[in-house]
Structure formats: structure tokens, C-alpha cells
């Protein structure tokens, strides 16, 4: 069976932080879509599972200059140094329980392979990985609403955002049934993208110039001359990635008009930001 193995996708996301209201719809839809279990007491956020987590950032200024931004943070689906697929988590997993899809750019998690060493969690600087400290439980009656397309996870394994991979599989199945070689942009959208009432999340193939996410991000296909580990840097001056300097090469991009928000995306030494804030990739001048 031949199913579109010719073109490598690179699914990614751009989140407009100026549109995000922090409503949490993306978190709720994600939990619902992916059968994420509940704890009886969810007050301790450091051991509750939220594949999509929304951070609240402030500019640190007092009233009336205070500004707040909400930053949704799914798994960043890192391509790793040089974008070769050796994501921080994938490269350390001792049992290949998490893997990098070279055809999609998606970092997968194989729940039945994971034996719960949690090395991947230590490797991830984004805290995007969650451990099942308890047996999965849902409020009574809610088991009836579990999605049949997503396997629930057992106690003692790590889980994380999968870019709703089951939706990709479903879209591919339909395309195959209809004799098409590829899927359309609208056919594969993550739950958080479709749930966002502000339309702040745009999802698609970063490799496909026809996709909106590509058009917004304008990813630079060349390695950054300033840091050879960085590939796919956005050539849009308003777009940035989290901790880009580490060379993790995330596929989640963020968009903001506000400079302090873009600066919050990474760590800078004193005076460094002013030197590089207008630097947007190797081939900017060619565009």
C-alpha cells in the first residue's frame, strides 16, 4: 500500500499570543480529545496532566503599565539540533518509547513501550511531558465520553501532546479511500486549533508553502549562521520560538506584536536582545 511516502511533512503550529485570551478552551478540548484522566484534587499543577498548558506571563511593570499575555504550550515537537530528529527527549529515551516521525515531524510516544524512567521529562526544558503518577480515572459516567481513537494510558508511563495524531491517521485513511495522494490542510487540524474561539492557533504543514502556517512563519530552511544548530528560524519579525538558542528546533511558533513577549521566549544576557531582536534568519535579505 502506497500512502504518500514521497513528501515529508513537517507539521507545526503558530500561536498568535495577541489573540489568545487565556480562556483555556485549548486545554479542555485537548483533555477531552485525548482521554486525559482527572485527579480528584487538581490543585497541584506539577503532577496533573495537561498536554496543553497555558502560562501567564507579565511584563513585570506595575499598574497602569502592566501587560499580560497567555501562552499556550503544547509539546514543541522538537526537531533537535540541526533539525535531524534527535529531539532532546527522543535521543535520551533508553527504550525507543518516544520517536521522531521523519515523515511528519511529530514526536510520538509509545505508551506500551514506555517503562517510566522519566529521563525524557528531565530532558525536556518545556515541561511538556507528563507522568501518570496515578491510575487513570474519570468522573463517573465520563468513561462513556472517551474517544475510541485514542488509547488511555496506564499508571507509570509518560505521555504528552501528539498533535492529535489519530486525526492525521483518520485524514490519511479518508484520502486513501478517495484515491488521493495527500491530505488537505483543513482535513488535519488538532483539537486545540479547532477549539480556539479567538482563532489564535494555526496548524498545518511548515513544508507546504500553500499552508497558512508556512505563510505566517516563513521558516528559513537554512541553518542559522549565528547558531548552526538552529534550523527553521522564522523570517517573520513578529514570530519566535521558545528557547530557540538551545537548538531544540521546536515546531511551535509564537506570534506577537509586543517586543517584551518576543523577548520572553528565550534567555538573553544584558544588552544581547537589542543586538539580535531585528535578526530573523539567514535568508531574510533574499526574500
Amino acid at each position: 500500500m502506497k500512502q504518500n511516502n514521497n513528501k515529508a511533512h513537517k507539521f507545526g503550529m503558530v500561536i498568535d499570543l495577541d489573540k489568545c485570551t487565556g480562556c483555556g478552551s485549548c486545554m479542555v478540548s485537548c483533555m477531552s480529545e485525548n482521554n486525559v484522566p482527572f485527579k480528584e484534587d487538581e490543585s497541584n499543577k506539577k503532577d496533573s496532566i495537561t498536554w496543553m498548558s497555558v502560562y501567564k506571563l507579565t511584563n513585570g511593570k506595575s499598574f497602569p503599565d502592566t501587560q499580560i499575555v497567555y501562552m499556550p504550550r503544547p509539546c514543541q515537537h522538537c526537531g533537535g539540533k540541526g533539525d535531524h530528529g534527535h529531539s532532546p527527549c527522543v535521543s535520551v529515551c533508553p527504550a525507543v518509547a518516544t520517536d521522531y516521525g521523519y515523515d511528519t515531524g511529530i514526536v510520538s510516544q509509545i505508551y506500551t513501550r514506555c517503562f517510566g524512567c522519566r529521563y525524557c521529562m528531565g530532558a525536556c526544558p518545556y515541561h511538556a511531558r507528563y507522568f501518570n503518577w496515578w491510575d487513570p480515572k474519570w468522573p463517573e459516567g465520563m468513561e462513556n465520553y472517551l474517544s475510541p481513537d485514542v488509547s488511555p494510558r496506564m499508571r507509570g508511563v509518560v505521555e504528552k501532546c501528539s498533535f492529535c495524531y489519530h486525526r492525521y491517521q483518520a485524514a490519511r485513511d479518508i484520502a486513501y479511500y478517495e484515491g488521493r495522494d495527500d491530505i488537505e490542510e483543513h482535513e488535519y487540524q488538532t483539537a486545540c486549533t479547532t477549539a480556539c474561539p479567538a482563532g489564535a492557533i494555526v496548524f498545518g504543514d511548515l513544508n507546504n508553502p500553500a499552508h497558512q502556517v508556512h505563510q505566517i512563519v516563513k521558516p528559513d530552511p537554512h541553518p542559522d549562521p549565528r547558531n548552526k544548530h538552529v534550523v527553521g528560524k522564522s523570517r517573520n519579525p513578529k514570530v519566535f520560538r521558545l528557547l530557540e538558542r538551545l537548538g531544540t528546533n521546536p515546531k511551535i511558533y509564537y506570534l506577537s506584536e509586543r517586543e517584551w513577549v518576543r523577548k520572553a521566549g528565550d534567555n538573553y544576557l544584558d544588552g544581547e536582545w537589542d543586538k539580535i531582536k531585528n535578526y530573523h534568519g539567514a535568508t531574510l535579505s533574499n526574500d
Binding site: 497541584n44 506539577k46 503532577d47 502560562y55 506571563l57 501562552m71 539540533k81 534527535h86 532532546p88 535521543s91 535520551v92 529515551c93 533508553p94 527504550a95 525507543v96 518509547a97 513501550r113 514506555c114 517503562f115 517510566g116 524512567c117 522519566r118 529521563y119 521529562m121 528531565g122 530532558a123 525536556c124 526544558p125 518545556y126 515541561h127 511531558r129 507528563y130 507522568f131 501518570n132 503518577w133 496515578w134 491510575d135 496506564m154 499508571r155 507509570g156 508511563v157 509518560v158 521558545l242 528557547l243 538558542r245 538551545l246 537548538g247 531544540t248 523577548k263 520572553a264 521566549g265 528565550d266 534567555n267 538573553y268 544576557l269 544581547e272
Partner: protein, 418 residues
Amino acid sequence: MDSALIPEGAKRCSFPKFAIGIAIVSAVVLWGVFAMFLCWFKGLNQTNMNDYYGFALWIWADLAVIAVGGGAFFTGLLRYIFKIDELKNIINFAVIIGFICYSSALLILAIDIGQPLRGWFIFWHANVHSMLTEVAFCLSAYFAVLTIEFIPNILENRQANKVPFFHHLAHNMHGVMAVFAATGAFLSFFHQGSLGGVAGVLYGRPFAVREGLLIWPWTFFLFTWSAAAFGPCFTLLVTKITETVTGKKLVKDNVVHLLAKISGWMIVTYIIAKIIDTIYWALVTAPSLGFTLSHFYSNNGFYGYWILITEIVLCGVVPGAILIMKSTRENPRLRLIAIILGVIGVCLNRWVMVLQIMAVPVMSFDTWALYFPSWQEIATTILPVAYGIILIAVAYRYLPVFPQEQELNTIEPVAEAE
């Protein structure tokens, strides 16, 4: 009652006294075993670990016991490969300590993983890119080597040695022990190193990440070197404790001085490398990622510069200096201070390379994460210590662990007669 099992000519306490001592320590073991079963049956929710602290007390304990257990491979290397003959008088004990440390490390790992029944996946579905895979393979293989190294000593038990087969087996195993010592040193180089690599490859964690040689970050070599340097300190420390508890001199001073001297020079060379590594990381690696040194040691209630200074200066430079100078090395009090500081230093290094890594915020809007272990974690961490005490007590009572024991303790009756 058990005199037939006690090595000939050796003096041991009465059996009831021994049994009472073992019973007390066994109570601690039972407490630890209870906590262990709680973790296995109820899950890791019994701990205070969380999604920020996926690695915590146990992994520190694991790294620490492996580091201090490094005395076994290094002493074996010196004794069998470099033919430093005096060390034959302490090698048995070094092997037993190593055996305790490594069996404890494996037990801790078995408790630490979320799905213990899938533990074998690390071998079956091995990811060759993962340092943890290398740890698992080398650790298990080296534990097998340590068991082989321990067997001849067990077979030298007075009753076992009466069986001709066991007698000859022990004799012949001693004869080929150089092969196992070399194998052990090779395996240890890799698993001690890969434990260092576990932290050094975390390029998402600027506090841990290091440049290196080929696929190995500098922490790989630093961990191996530090285990070889501080492992003998632990061997000497446990020997001293055993001598104090038994009230006997068990190893001649010249042996102790020699091992202390070797350890001292290893510590000095290690600490020079560690200082260079720290300076390079602080001035080049971390700033290239947007971090200043102060980021890692401020804005939190625990991790300050004190931990860096304590590890490197107080527990590195100081013991190294004491142990390389003859006058201070041969002063029992100063030597004891040095080996205690050394053991604390290597344990502190492992703490920093596990827990501080998890605590340091990486994203600019993240905060420090501090953690305190649950009683179940503490009990299961104390468990190996209690198990070690029992194994040492049993081995000392029934096996000829210290070849110089009788020679050193036959003087006593003469002195009494005088």
C-alpha cells in the same frame, strides 16, 4: 553457636550479640521493604516526585552509591592490572562494598521505574543513542563481574572451603581474576562515564549540558575520574568504620596510606579538570545559551554559590591536598577528615547533577522548583544502607575478608600478658 563458620583463629562477638545487632538493622530493612512494596503496588504517587522532578532522591542515591562503589573497580585495576600487591589486603573488602553499592543501585532502579515489569525493555528495545541504555548494559554486566569477584571470597568460608570443588574453584578463580578485573575496569569506565553523560547530553538543560569529545560530553570523563578518585575514599571510610565497630585493626597502615595517596592524586587531577570544566561552562557554554552563572545560584531558597564552593573547594581541593601530602595523609585524624570530605564531595556532585538540574528554571518565565522527598523515598533510600551494614557484618563474621586481620590482632594477647 556458629563458631564452625567463623574463620579459623578469628575472634568474633557472641552470636546473640551479633543476632541482636542484625535484628535491629533488619527492622530498618523491613521499613524500607515496606516502602518499596508500597511504591510497587500503589505506584510512584507514593513519592513527592512530580513532573518537574522526574528525577529525584533515588536517582541521586543511585548515582552516589555507584560513585562511591567505584573503589571496587579502581582498586581491582590497581591490584590485578597494575600489580600493586599491597592492595590485596583490602581488595576483598573493596569488592564487597562495590557489590553492595551496585546491587543497591539496581534495586533502586527497579523501584524508580514506573512500570517495573517492563524493566527489561531497556535491553530488548535498546536505543543506542541513549546514555541510559549504556548505563543499563554496563551496570548489569559489571554487577555480574562483581559477583564473580565476590564468589571466591565466599567460597573461602571455613566450611565451604572444606569441599574440594569449592576450594579449587576459589583458588582457580583467584588465578584468573585479572581478566575479570580488567573487564570490570572497562565496564566501569563506560557506565560511570555514561552516568555522567546522562546529564551532560541534556542540551535542553543549560545547567547540565557540556561540550565534549565525539559523542561523550565532558561529564562522561569527569564522572569516571571522580568515581576512581573518591571510590577508594569510601572504601577507606567503611574500613575505618568497620575497624571502629569491631575494635580491631584490620588493614595495615602502609596499605591505607598507599590507597589514600593514590586517591589523593586522583582527586587532585580530577578537581583540576572539574575546575576547568566549570570555568568553561560558566564563561562560554552557559552564556552562549543566554545564561549567566548567577542564574543557576540565585533567586531560590536553597541552591546558592555555597553548593559550588562546598563541592569543589571544601570537598575537593581540601581532601586532595590533605591526601597528597605525606605528613597530613599519615595523620589519622586529618586522613579521616579528608576521606569523609571526599565522600561528601562526590555525593554532592551527584546531587547537583541530578536535583539541581531539575530545579533550575530554563524558560525565562519559569520558576525554581524545589522538592522534599516523601518518607517512602527516604525509607527506600536508607534501605540499601541497612542492607549494606548487614552484608558487611555477615561477610566480616564468616569470611576471611581481611587477610591481615590475624597478624594485626595476635599482638593483643602478648600485650595483655605483659
